[in-house]
Structure formats: C-alpha cells, structure tokens
Symmetry: C2
C-alpha cells in the first residue's frame, strides 16, 4: 500500500491545506487528523499546544505516514523545532512556506501577518521573515474571532464581513503594507472577505497553498514522491463531533472529486 | 568566510536567477559562472551540454560552494540527474520549481512552456509536470531566437517585439492555456514583451523567481542557510568577452545594490 502524508491541525482549518495538497499533488494519499474537540489552540499555553501536537503525531505515526505536515500555525509556532529534532520523517509546518512566499511577493518589504493570539505572541513569522531578510518590516495582528467563526461554519455574509472588518481595522489602512499573510489555516475560508476589506492592491498569501507547494519540494528532495497513476484513497479523523466535521468537510470540498477510505472519530 | 551558493548558466540568462536570489535571499553570498563563450546551449547535443556543465561544476567546486543552482534550463534538462547522483552538495535546477509553480497557478490544467530547442526536445517540463499531475495538458514551443537576442542585449523595442510576436504565434491564440512557463532563464528579460503578446489573462511563470524561492527551501531543509547580517560579497565569472558580460550585468542589476568581490574571466 502507498504510504500516506500525515496532516494535523487543531480543527478544520488544516482542511484548506488538504484541499491544496489534493489539487497540487493528486497522486499522494493523505491522512488528516483534526483535534476539533480541543480547538482552538490559539489561546492555549505553549506546553498544552506541544502536548496536544505530540498526541496527534503519535496517532499518525501508527498509521505509517511517510511525511508530516503541521497544517496549523499555532502548532507549528510552538512544536516544529521539537518535531524536527525527534522525528525521522520529513516534517514541514505552515510558517516558513508562507514567509518565503511573502518575501517573493513583496516589493517594498512591508509584510502584514494575521493569526491566532498564540501564533502572533510566538513571533514565529517575524523570526522566519527576518532570518531570511533582515530589512522586512512586519505588521502583526491577532484575530482571535476568526478561527472560532470558521469552526462554526460562518464563512460569508454580512456577519462574517462585520467581524473581519472590525478585526482588521488596525492594519487595513496601513499605507505601506503590500503583502498580507493569512497566518492561520482557517483564514483561507475567509479569503474573499479579507481581500475585499484590505483592498485589491494588497497581495494576500495563503499559507495553505504555499505549504502544499513546499510539500511537493520536500517529497522531491527526500525522493519519496508517489508517481504511480492509481487514485489515492484518503483518510479523515477528528477528535470532536463528527457531524459538524463532515458538514464543513463537504463545504470545503464541494467542487472536488476524490476517494475517501475513512471518516472516523479519533481517540487520542 | 561564508560559503557561497554556486550558480551556473550557459551565458547571461542565469543572472535573472542571481537577481532573484539576491532579492529573496539577501544574506547569501553567490558565485556565478556564465559560459558565455559557448552560449547558446540550446542547439547543442546532450553529450556536449553534459560535458560543458561538468566543466563549470568543477570550476565552482574548487571555490568551495555549499550548494549548486543550475540556472539554465537546457543544462538542467540534460545534466541534473547525473549531478544529483554524483555531487554530495544539494543541487537544484530550474525545471521543477517552474513546474511546481505552474501547477499551483493553473486552474484548468492547460500549461504552456517555451524554451530552447534542447529544453523542448528533452520534454523535461512535460515529464516534471505529469510526474506530479497526470492530467496536465502541455503545449510546448521552442523559441530559438530568444536567447541569442538577449545575449546581444536586445531586450525591448519594436524589433524585440516583432521577434517575440512571430515566435509565439503557435501558442498565443490558444483558447485554453491559462499559465505559461518561461522555460529559459533568458526569457524573464523579455517578460514584459511576452506578457503583452500573450495577453493579461495568462499567468506567466518565471522559472528564475521560482528557483530562488526553492533555493530558500532547500537551504532550510539541509540547514545550511546563512543568517548573519553581514553583507555578502558576490563573485561573477564568464568564459567569454568580459565587456559585453559586464554591460548586460549592469543592465540587469541597474536598480540593485550589492557588493562585488570579483568580476573575472574564467578558463574552464
């Protein structure tokens, strides 16, 4: 059997990474685990996030994954160094791919970043950006209302628009920022609304799309890409209510065709 | 002393990769070697291209490079597998980064690719694209007039426009292609003209920009990125006429500031 790529997230946000992985790497079988029971991770302590992340990783290691994608910015911010050190499969997070894409995009070195409180507090994006290019000016803003709104399935309409508008006030009128990183995998589900609020001139970078692309590069460097033409079977697990999880999954993948082996509850 | 990234090309086209490397990875010292004496590689045999590429690689290995970027599509098409196998430093070419960016960009899986005769004949882009996504439809076209035109410094104006228009006739009216890969590192110097000819609706992918980004990913995976803040010193070598080389270099880097250690003739 083909070995899958493991994808973990605090909830449903990581499904935007899965969506892009299926589109950009359609030969690769995926196994997704969303910790919907304990979502959001944003307000939790570093220790909690690390512990929960390791619990998810242990669940997936038993499923024989060949690579791990941390499709959650908060978990990436707090746990990736530890995972890199202790796992012997390739591990990628969502922060560096987003940072690299933003550096490629910006023309004036002013980059905005929105994410959960945990991600913003960790300054992981600032570190990733400045490690590559010291000149980058970073405007960062926590948007604690966004992820819970998405988990409830509120993705568009006047209420979503009101929340996005109000949350983005501190950066939406900044006159220099030319690139904005969606530093939470839930946010691509609000991308159209966010783009409208910040205006067409701002290049909005989805860390989900960029992570799918870097997954491709990583598979290639480690020579573990799957290139046979048999359609892959995907597996989905969630720790919380399966009904809401299936509902949101159907909405995210409404225009996609793929084969599912499993959608199940996971006990960590 | 900081170890440099080595960049090789058949001529001056690879300087577009260098330009992007400096922009996206400003802490990294670079050493460039352009085989301007024997350019273009496009019409040469596979054996010749392999031999010339190895001669350039041996020159750079003596300069203690930590990584090799093959900033030439023809050399990538014919020599990268051999280089991967025999070198113990990371090696990246321009083809896979361009292919991955095109897969991320396309919405209907119709991708155009223009390059030298050698690159097109090798079908290296077709292979790279279909290895990742079998559904991709590839329209490929050799544009043998472009690279020599750029080497002569003819980058814009009515004559350049005429050559570009005439060369692109076979694909410029295609009604499905939504993404076009510039599969030769000379072509970003003609990007504005090419974009005008194919129209605004086509996303034009520069393999140079994409290769700079994947260089960043590769440095990261191999943990050999430079992150101290000291300005790097760059080195430039060419096998042919140094006067023309310096003239084109000045035009490509006219808006850039960087420090040069050396611009010298190279004997291979």
């Amino acid at each position: 059997m083909k070995k899958p790529i493991g994808v973990i997230d605090s909830g449903v946000g990581g499904l935007t990474v899965v969506h892009e992985l299926m589109r950009q790497l359609p030969k690769e079988p995926l196994i997704y685990l969303g910790d919907t029971e304990r979502c959001p991770y944003g307000p939790r302590t570093e220790e909690e996030v690390k512990q929960f992340t390791w619990e998810m990783v242990h669940f997936l290691l038993k499923k024989n994954i060949k690579m791990l994608v941390i499709a959650c910015n908060t978990a990436t911010a707090f746990a990736i160094n530890d995972l890199h050190e202790k796992l012997d499969i390739p591990v990628i997070g969502v922060i560096k791919p987003g940072a690299r894409a933003a550096i490629k995009s910006t023309e004036n070195d002013y980059i905005g970043i929105i994410g959960t409180e945990g991600t913003i507090r960790s300054e992981a994006y600032n570190d990733a950006l400045r490690q590559i290019k010291s000149e980058i000016e970073v405007l960062s803003l926590a948007c604690p209302a966004f992820a819970p709104m998405v988990e409830k399935g509120l993705l568009e309409g006047p209420e979503a628009r009101r929340v996005v508008e109000k949350s983005l006030v501190p950066i939406s009128k900044h006159d220099k920022m030319d690139t904005l990183i969606l530093g939470c995998t839930h946010y691509p589900l609000l991308k159209d609304t966010i783009q409208e609020v910040v205006g067409e001139d701002i290049k909005v970078i989805s860390s989900s799309e960029e992570t799918a692309r870097e997954t491709s590069t990583t598979l290639d460097i480690h020579q573990i890409a799957d290139d046979d033409d048999q359609s892959p079977l995907h597996q989905f697990y969630a720790t919380g209510d399966l009904e809401i999880f299936i509902d949101i999954t159907q909405r995210i993948f409404k225009d996609s065709q793929f084969e599912v082996l499993t959608i199940k509850h996971a006990d960590l």
